[in-house]
Structure formats: structure tokens, C-alpha cells
Symmetry: C2
Subunit: 342 residues, 2 copies
């Protein structure tokens, strides 16, 4: 956006929530603005306790951090020494890979299987290489695919000794019921990551949280930036959490918009993959060069979408859900770009 | 505050700015609140360019981060391997020590000299131990003392080969002219740290910045949390920077409040140390046990102040500047507490 000097016609590239944050969160930010001279609570007491109550776990099972990115950075720092093995899927979250590389870990990447992350292959590889961490994103980014709670539960049960499963559930608020397995907070085999950046509509604040065994959560106190989650951020997240009616409404809007994006894709001869996220990944039916050209053509028309960056996923473009008028703009520009490219 | 369940009568313990942030910054936060669904710019382009213009350096010399704490964490990570030597003053910033220890560095602590950090002794020790980093805070926290720009310049010139001087200037906006040496942005021997948490009154947002050689600044891109400084934070800091009239007014208020705190101290038989910061350190003329008891007694009366934590500084209490009515409350409660303790 900065590069072109223009506002986007359709900002659908970062899986933000174009439906916006709860008006209660907006009000909380405005109210807290005048108090911005005071440091926030280094323990995020109120937010942590509210999250614990929401999830039915103890406050000691909750760690609030600077988005899932920040939490992943500290987690990798705590768990991965130089040379340690880490397993993820090829084409999964690059920021996780960035942190692993940054702390000297060795990444082992398992291919997707039919556009899904492959739990059995991930577990096998983790066992083979003695992985300290196994990253698994459910529902998945960038393909939008997902596994049921039953499969995830079996995966947790089969995590090798010495491996911690990093279950990134950034998109779980958009997924069908039965996607997130029940929380077993003291299970030492898994740490679960959630965020306010997606359906809660607070990407601009960077706040997420981890749910895990109290002993694991406590270890973060040795490395985290203790005042890293500021006062406004805590106030906004707390207000957003309390407005579950808004979240439910956004969930419905996301579902409707996914349907609309599937129709748009079909209307242009693209194949929309099923999605349990707040975006739809569209198979363009050609190679990565074609998809890259399409993304660039859209960008030149101020339509911002992204695409998976490894083959064979790079045959696709990834389009965030958003308000109806934004999707109408996308529909129109997509048609023009496709006509120009073919 | 949370522990007592009451609001503080006088919140003077964290060197926040009770004079508040610029109304322009408050307005910017309110305005940006509705846009909180969008990620902030990962490069902090506008803020970085505005800071560069303000300081007369290149944007490539500026790094925006999650407060000085966040910047210090990344700096230590980049510069300090396990076993590496790091030099600081005994009783200086504990969060710096926390990061050094966290990354396996070995701290070498030099005593203050007459309640001032001791540049000559710090340099000698850095040379002796082959320090990777030498931390120097000017003006100093927790004593409020300072060295002139001339002395700091001589210190920079004498930094041993292989040592980087970390010049923490969190409080420099409160210092007399002639405290900060001129910026020589491409000097590879020093990195300078500034913050919006003190006189700008934005502690609740956690945003600071480093000024250093472009080559050094660029290295942070390998470790920093790229979206860690959120959209509201960037908007607020930019607005605060543009309201230099507000900063100037706060500077005057801080100066007046320092004078008032010196009078209050004298009125109770305490000795206020000279200060170039937004707080005043008061020598209680007794030992650490007495000062600790005084801090606790004040806290029981909802007056929040802190104290230095190593001897001989722990004979003192540290009181932030603040609005006149807050200082009046402090004056009254201080008198009662001192009478009760003696």
C-alpha cells in the first residue's frame, strides 16, 4: 500500500478481518488512550484471568504475548538450542521457520498431502529426527484446510517423548465446531496458540496467547519482554473477549463471505478449496508463474491478495474474507485480470 | 495497584509521565482504533522517516522497537553469545542484566562513583574483560545523575575495539541542553536508545527506538518481531513526535516538579540528589532497611514510589515527577510516614 501511495481497493491479502473489531474494543481503546502514560500490567492479570475463565482453565495455563509471532519467538528460544531438530510442514508458517533458523535450529519439512498438513508423516518425522518442536497449524494457513478434533487428539496422544507439539489455532474461531479438541491444560505434550488478530479483528494491536501446562507457561517468565503487551492492547483484547456476540456475528459473516468467494472463484473458472479459516485459497489450475502474474496484476489494480510460496501450492491464490462490497470489487478486478492474462 | 485493589493516591514509582501524552497522540489513538483490524507497517516506515528527519539522520539509522526493553533484548541476542563478557554499572538497569543473563552473557558490574556512573572505570573494565557490550545510561536511572555531552563524547571515543557502547538515553528529553552529544549516526562504536515512554507520556504503548550505524540497524531484521510494533502504537508515536510544543511544555513541568520535590525532600529533612530525569532520588540518610520500610509505609497509604536496590544507593527512595496535586499528596503522606517510622 505504501509502495503505490494509494489505498487498496480491496485489502484481502493478510487474513485480517475486514469486518472490524468489536465496537466495545474500539471504545476500550479510546478510553484507554488518555491513560497511555501508565505502563500496562506486566502480568496481564485481568486479561489472563478472563481468558482462563473463557476457556475453563487456570490463569497459570495462560500466557499473553505480542501476537503468535512473539509467542513463537520466545517458545523457540526456550526449547531449541543450535542444532536441535524441529519439524514443520513444507509451505507452512514462515515466521515459525524464521524463529527456528534464528535460534540455530534445524528445520525438517514434511510435504502436505492433498493440500492438508499430514499428521502421520509429521509424527513419524518428529520421531525420526528427535524433534524438540513439531509445528502443526489447524486450520491451516495458507491452504485453509483442517483436520477434525478427533485426528488432532490422536496426534497429541502420539507425540514422541521429548517433542512438544505447537498447535497453532490462529484460525480456529472460523472453523466448524469439532475442529478444536477439548483443552487439557496440564497436558505437557502440547502448547496451543490463539490470537486476537484474526476473527477478533485486532491485528493492528498484536496480541495473542498460549494455553499450556502451568510449568511450561511459567518458564516464559525467564525470557519474555515483561511489559511487552501494553496497556491499550490489554484493554482492547479484554473488551473484545467480552463481546462474544460480535465474534459470533463475525463468524457468520466469514462463513457467508467464504461462500461468496467460492462462487466468485467458480464464476471465473477457478477452484476454491474448502476452508475453515477467514480466507479462501483458490486453485488457478496453472503453475506458480501464472498465479504470481495474477497476484501482480491484481496488485497493479489495487487489489491485495497473496499466494502460497512453495509448489504445488503456488498454483493457488489466497483471498481473505471481507465485506460484500470489497468482494464485489475483487470479483470485478479478478475477471479483468484473468482475461488480460489468458 | 492490583494487589491492593485500590487506585493509587500518588502513582510516582515507575517514572511515567503524569503530565500525560500529547492530546494529538490521544486523538491519533482514537482515530486508529477503528482501523485496528489491519496489521501495522512491519517497517514502521512513516515513524522511522519522521524520527530520521527529527534527528537529522537517515531512516536506515533508525530502528523502532517494542520499547527500550525490546530493543535491548534483540541487541543482546545479536551481540552476546554464551560466556561473552558484558559490562554495566552495579545498580543500573535490571532489565538489561536480565537480557544478558538470559542469553548466557557474563555480567561485570562497576560501582557508581559519588552516585554517578563511572565512565573511566567502565571503559577500563570493558577493556580488561573484552566486553561485547558496555551499557551506560545518561542521564542515569535510578540515581538521576548525569554526565555532560563532552564526557560522553570522550567515552565514545575511548570505547575499546570489539565493544559496542549501549547509550541508554531514555531520560535525555528531561536533561539540560548539552547532555546528549551530537548524533554521529554512522559511528560503529555506539548505539543510542530513546523512548516514547518517559516525557512523551506513552509508557502504556511500549515504543522506543535505536539510533545507530546503518549496518548495525540492518542486522536487527534477522531477529526482530517484524510486526511487533502495532498500528495504533505507530500512529500515536508519530503524532507525539509531531507535537514538540507538548514535549517542551512537559519538559518545563518536569523541571518545575523536580524543584518542588527537592523542596518537599528538604522540608522533611531528606536530601534530594540533583536530577536530569523525570524523577528525583532522595537520600533518606539512613540504611536500606529504613528506606524499604518507608517505601512500604508509603505503599500502605497508596503512594507508589520505588527505591534503588543495591547499596549504597538503597539509602534512597526514587520519586517520579508528576502534577502539583499529586506531589501535594505525596508531601503530606511522606511526612506522616516519616513521623511514624522515627
Amino acid at each position: 500500500m505504501r509502495a503505490s501511495g494509494r489505498a487498496f481497493l480491496a485489502r484481502l491479502g493478510a487474513n485480517e478481518s475486514g469486518f472490524g473489531p468489536s465496537p466495545m474494543a474500539v471504545a476500550a481503546m479510546s478510553e484507554a488512550a488518555g491513560e497511555a502514560w501508565m505502563y500496562g500490567d506486566s502480568e496481564c492479570h485481568d486479561l489472563r484471568h478472563a481468558l482462563a475463565a473463557y476457556h475453563g482453565v487456570a490463569p497459570a495455563n495462560i500466557l499473553v504475548g505480542e501476537g503468535i509471532d512473539g509467542l513463537l519467538g520466545n517458545l523457540v528460544r526456550l526449547m531449541v538450542a543450535p542444532g536441535d531438530a524441529v519439524v514443520t510442514s513444507d509451505g507452512a508458517y514462515p515466521t515459525f521457520d524464521y524463529h527456528v533458523t534464528g535460534f540455530g535450529g534445524v528445520l525438517h519439512k514434511v510435504p502436505y498431502r492433498d493440500d492438508h498438513e499430514d499428521p502421520a508423516a509429521l509424527l513419524t518425522r518428529a520421531e525420526q529426527v528427535g524433534a524438540k518442536l513439531l509445528y502443526f497449524c489447524n486450520p491451516d494457513n495458507p491452504m485453509g484446510s483442517w483436520h477434525s478434533a478427533r485426528i488432532v487428539q490422536r496426534m497429541i496422544a502420539a507425540v514422541p517423548d521429548g517433542t512438544l507439539l505447537v498447535l497453532d489455532e490462529a484460525y480456529v474461531d472460523a472453523a466448524p465446531d469439532g475442529t478444536a479438541p477439548p483443552l487439557v491444560p496440564e497436558d505437557p505434550r502440547v502448547i496451543r496458540l490463539r490470537t486476537f488478530s484474526k476473527l477478533y479483528g485486532l491485528a493492528g494491536l498484536r496480541v495473542g496467547y498460549a494455553i499450556g501446562a502451568a510449568e511450561l507457561i511459567a518458564v516464559f517468565d525467564r525470557v519474555r519482554n515483561h511489559f511487552g503487551v501494553g496497556r491499550l492492547v490489554q484493554a482492547a483484547a479484554l473488551a473484545a473477549l467480552h463481546d462474544q456476540a460480535w465474534l459470533e456475528q463475525v463468524r457468520q459473516q466469514v462463513q457467508d463471505a467464504r461462500g461468496r468467494l467460492q462462487d466468485i472463484a467458480a464464476g471465473h473458472g477457478l477452484h476454491a478449496l474448502p476452508s475453515a479459516t477467514n480466507f479462501v485459497t483458490m486453485d488457478c489450475g496453472r503453475d506458480g508463474d501464472f498465479a504470481r502474474a495474477l497476484v501482480a496484476a491484481l496488485r497493479a489494480r489495487d487489489v491485495f491478495v497473496r499466494m502460497p510460496f512453495v509448489a504445488p501450492h503456488d498454483r493457488c491464490i489466497r483471498v481473505s474474507t471481507g465485506p460484500a462490497d470489497t468482494l464485489t470489487d475483487f470479483d470485478e478486478v479478478l475477471g479483468e485480470c484473468l482475461r488480460a492474462l489468458t
